[in-house]
């Protein structure tokens, strides 16, 4: 589930005061470059662990977190808002009496964290009374004192506000100059400074950076009353401000003439293109519904992977823990045992928390497990889920997959989606080669509307740009396209995946799960892929 955070964010410019609490407290720009001293964080962690152990905990982990975010929000020629937020505090999780307990405090003193540790133990003991089976943790060996940082070149938080404002104003000018009636553009920057310590003997200091340039470009035809938008073709990335450098090496021109982006984004060029595309959408012919072979660009496919593979293979959903909110899964344990044919033999899907540039990349997860890559689907067969320390034994694994995460110090960590990606094809194939073999198809670029049922069977996806393919050639831009799938049939209709030259990431900051709800940032990589005989509907309606 993705919540409407982008829309909420866009409307933030008006109220100003009504900041969602998730974004923490607003701070001045110069404080975004600083960090808490590691020795100070270790002192807090030791105080919490000592108190928890003394109170009867058999296990304790402590997360000292400082979460920084910056938003620069503009429309047309105005800067609507610049917001810096910070949220700092300590979350303490314990096992006592075989049950979990959690407490958090924003007071950064040894006394306060020791008190919170005591509360966590008391909660665990209370929960233990009704607990039917004690928590079983897959073992983790302590790693001592270690540190890791997202391999950024340029810290976004230290780039002057003026440089960011100037960039967005150039972006907006480019769109308006190329025929857009409106544009909203946003820079959304994140730095999670996370210190993790546990009674296993780990003290892990991590500095995680993410960046997401967003825009929505609108073209209006007042005479007909029609309007169309085209959003950015960039991805949110686990990178620094170097992502915004617009290098030629980051650009790929697709067979339909659209430019897409890899590890470098040219936001100004994309804005001008978006304006042209939005105008073209106003007059593009409407799709004829029916069965088509779909050629899906990675800027689109990430969301289909996310919804129809990433979510159903989360073990807590499979088991029923999310039944009242995010939902359960069709990919039940018996399907794992029988190596269910999830997709065609072209479909190889891995989960990972290590891919450079991805949103999920860290060295250790939020329960101190060294991160890795592992298989979910191999040659089309289901062979694994995503599980954390207290779930691994259920799947018959002896170690956690390392995909535990909390979105703040004040929320308890739990199983979250890793990066889940479709592996490139092993035989050389370019996008042009793939399109050359399609008789009657639609080429889809960018993510659009998305919706899937609570067991992840029936899904519907739109896109940003649609192009008709006839007899191996891209013929024209079309509109009003959405495709409907049943997950296993869709992945079994996968007829080919381009090779690694075309591999790119997509993703989101706003994967929602849990009650109270938490968000998580996740990437999904793929090369362009072909799916045969997919049901396409026409989404045009008349309001009379």
């Amino acid at each position: 589930m993705h919540r409407r955070d982008f829309l909420a964010l866009s409307s933030m410019g008006v109220g100003g005061l009504a900041l969602p609490s998730i974004f923490g407290k607003a701070i001045a720009a110069e404080e975004l470059g600083s960090a808490l001293d590691v020795g100070f964080k270790k002192g807090l962690a030791d105080a919490a662990m000592n108190a928890a152990t003394a109170a009867g905990a058999s296990y304790c982990d402590v997360r000292v977190g400082r979460y920084l975010r910056q938003f620069v929000i503009t429309r047309e020629r105005n800067v609507q808002n610049i917001v810096n937020t910070e949220s700092t505090g300590v979350g303490i999780r314990v096992i006592a009496g075989g049950a979990w307990g959690f407490a958090a405090t924003n007071e950064l003193t040894k006394d306060a964290v020791a008190r919170a540790a005591g509360q966590a133990v008391a909660i665990a003991k209370a929960n233990a009374v009704r607990q039917t089976a004690p928590v079983q943790l897959a073992p983790v060996k302590g790693v001592g004192e270690v540190a890791w940082r997202t391999p950024i070149v340029k810290n976004s938080m230290q780039v002057p506000i003026k440089e960011k404002v100037d960039l967005l104003m150039s972006v907006n000018d480019a769109a308006l100059g190329a025929g857009a009636d409106f544009i909203q553009s946003i820079l959304f920057l994140v730095n999670e400074q996370k210190y993790f310590a546990s009674t296993d003997g780990s003290y892990i200091d991590q500095d995680v950076h993410r960046i997401w340039p967003r825009m929505s470009v609108t073209a209006v035809d007042k005479a007909s009353g029609k309007f169309r938008t085209r959003d950015e073709l960039a991805a949110p990335m686990g990178m620094g401000y170097e992502y915004m450098d617009g290098a030629a090496s980051g650009k790929t021109v697709l067979p339909c003439g659209v430019t897409v982006f890899g590890k470098s984004y040219d936001m100004i060029a994309d804005a001008a293109a978006a304006a042209r595309h939005a105008r073209a959408k106003l007059t593009a012919p409407s799709v004829k519904p029916g069965k088509y072979d779909l050629v899906l660009d990675p800027s689109h496919t990430w969301l289909t992977i996310h919804e129809s593979v990433g979510h159903p293979l989360e073990l807590d959903r499979v088991l029923g823990y999310e039944a009242n909110y995010a939902g359960t899964s069709f990919a039940t344990m018996d399907k794992l045992q029988s190596r269910f044919q999830y997709g065609s033999d072209k479909v190889n899907i891995v989960a990972d928390k290590v891919q450079p540039g991805s949103l999920g990349a860290v060295a250790y997860d939020d329960e101190g497990v060294k991160t890795k890559q592992w298989d979910l689907i191999r040659d089309g067969k289901l062979i694994g889920y995503q599980a954390i320390r207290d779930q691994a034994h259920i799947e018959g694994k002896t170690e956690s997959d390392g995909c535990c995460y909390a979105d703040s110090w004040s929320n308890v960590q739990f199983q979250r989606m890793a990066n889940v990606s479709l592996q490139p094809g092993k035989t050389p194939m370019s996008v042009a080669d793939m399109i050359g073999g399609v008789e009657n198809g639609i080429y889809i670029i960018g993510d659009g509307s998305f919706s899937i049922d609570q067991q992840r069977y029936n899904a519907q996806f739109g896109g940003q740009l649609f192009f008709e393919i006839k007899n191996g050639k891209v013929t024209q831009q079309i509109e009003d396209v959405a495709y409907q799938i049943r997950t296993p049939e869709f992945w079994n209709a996968c007829a080919g995946v381009c090779d690694e030259r075309d591999y790119r990431l997509g993703g989101s900051f706003f994967d929602g799960k849990g009650q109270p709800s938490q968000v998580s940032a996740v990437s999904h990589g793929s090369s362009t892929a072909r799916f045969n005989g997919i049901n396409v509907i026409n989404t045009a309606r008349t309001l009379g």
Binding site: L17, N106, K222, G225, A323, S449
Partner: protein, 444 residues
């Protein structure tokens, strides 16, 4: 604690506004105590309480605005937050759409607080979970649910003396009940301001009945059907549509409320004549704070009258530009209806589909507010006034605008909360003809 007394709040706000050296200053305090309990697989999984109070300070030098927030209230912290906001304002470029703070207003207190809800204890939450779980265990059913209660306050003061203080409470309970074999699923949701109106042991029976009754679902062909949407099912579509009741977007030509050739559809017949909707901050059982985020007083105001658009949301900037009075943004949405229950609507239906709940609703085309989503947790076929059998879930592609032109009958409105909108809503069950289902879902 998450709630300050009025005198505590006023003292802090007065100090903050006094500290500011900017041309204008608004200080706002908001705090709450939020308790929750979550259960799944007939076991409690997590529970907790979170207290938090935050102070937000927004200042302006000319048309340059800065915002900072803090959650400590000693004198040094108050000074720091004001200076941070002032620093940010000096860094910010001028906003040509800047609006000065609102003048002093008069607010009439609304009934948003209940002492019963504010007094909810961990033991009470545990009892709600236990009642939900125990009932299901005894019937070979599996419960997963969540109770969240909140008691909070808002207080603000600006440099022109506009001041408000009020407390509020709310409770939201949801429970999904599944048959042990996973072939049936039911759901119940109950959103109340006063906990006295809530009884978990009664509510869970609704979800249990639907879970048991929804196993053995048959497949119907997708297509256009008469549907009876329970209030929770309709709320998701309607709240999505209300998000686009914005005058500026409509005037700019990029809304379903834009008029061909320019302008907006204010005053025009957009819905069927039986559709009426209004906002009222003092509405019994669904009251909201008597001010909006700008500090303007909310008042009862029609939104849709006999199917005509009666009011759109104008930001203060856009109202000024268009020469209209600035009105407070609505805090709740009240749809009028009739007196019939959902069961009464079923009794008068020759052939149709009863929808308990809608899920994962997303915009497909903003031009027509075409939304897609699915039914879940209890979808049934109705024939000759009776529920005949459970049916497999459907995906719909439907616009709430078209839907509200195809209303056959409204039932009695109730307070509901949609999955993804925070707006307090009062929505009737509704019988709609020609509702568009486009595919089947195997999900239970």
């Amino acid at each position: 604690m998450g709630i300050m007394t009025e005198s505590q709040a006023k003292a802090i706000l007065t100090k903050v506004v006094g500290l500011s050296k900017a041309d204008q200053c608004t200080a706002q305090l908001g705090g709450s105590t939020r308790g929750n309990i979550r259960f799944a697989l007939n076991n409690v999984s997590t529970s907790g309480v979170l207290d938090n109070i935050e102070l937000a300070v927004q200042v302006a030098f000319g048309k340059r605005v800065g915002t900072a927030t803090i959650n400590q209230f000693d004198d040094a912290s108050l000074e720091r937050v004001v200076r941070r906001a002032e620093e940010l304002a000096r860094l910010a470029p001028e906003n040509p759409e800047f609006m000065p703070v609102v003048d002093k207003q008069t607010f009439t207190a609304t009934p948003t607080f209940s002492t019963g809800t504010a007094g909810i204890t961990p033991e009470y939450r545990a009892k709600v979970a236990a009642e939900s779980i125990d009932a299901c265990k005894g019937a070979n059913l599996v419960a997963a649910g969540y109770l969240e209660d909140e008691a909070g306050f808002v207080a603000f003061l600006n440099s022109r003396g506009n001041y408000g203080y009020q407390t509020a409470t709310s409770t939201d309970y949801t429970c999904t009940v599944r048959t042990a074999d996973g072939r049936g699923s039911g759901w119940v949701g109950h959103n109340v301001q006063d906990i006295a109106q809530f009884n978990a042991a009664e509510d869970v029976r609704v979800a249990m009945r639907k879970a048991s009754a929804s196993a053995e679902a048959k497949a119907l062909e997708p297509g256009k059907y008469t549907v009876i949407l329970e209030p929770a099912a309709a709320a998701g579509l309607i709240s999505f549509m209300m998000f686009f009741f914005d005058a500026r977007s409509a005037d700019e030509g990029r809304s379903f409320l834009s008029k061909k050739g320019g302008g907006n559809k204010l005053g025009e017949q957009v819905y069927g004549p039986q559709v009426n909707m209004f906002t009222d901050p003092a509405y019994p059982g669904a009251a909201v704070y008597p001010w909006d985020d700008d500090g303007l007083p909310r008042q009862r105001m029609p939104i849709i009258e006999n199917g005509k658009v009666a009011n759109l949301n104008y930001s203060r900037y856009w109202a000024q530009k268009q020469g209209r009075p600035a009105m407070a943004r609505p805090g709740n949405i009240i749809m009028t209806g009739g007196t019939k229950s959902t069961a009464d609507l079923v009794r008068t239906t020759e052939r149709g589909i009863l929808v308990t709940r809608t899920w994962y609703i997303r915009m497909v085309d903003p031009q027509t507010v075409l939304l897609t989503g699915l039914t879940r947790d209890g979808t049934f076929y109705i024939e000759n006034g009776q529920i005949r059998y459970p049916i497999k879930n459907f995906r719909f592609n439907e616009s709430p605008v078209i839907m509200l032109n195809n209303v056959e009958e409204f039932g009695k409105p109730v307070r509901v909360k949609s999955d993804e909108a925070d707006t307090t809503m009062v929505i009737p069950p509704m019988k709609i003809r020609d509702f568009t289902f486009t595919s089947l879902s195997d999900a239970v």
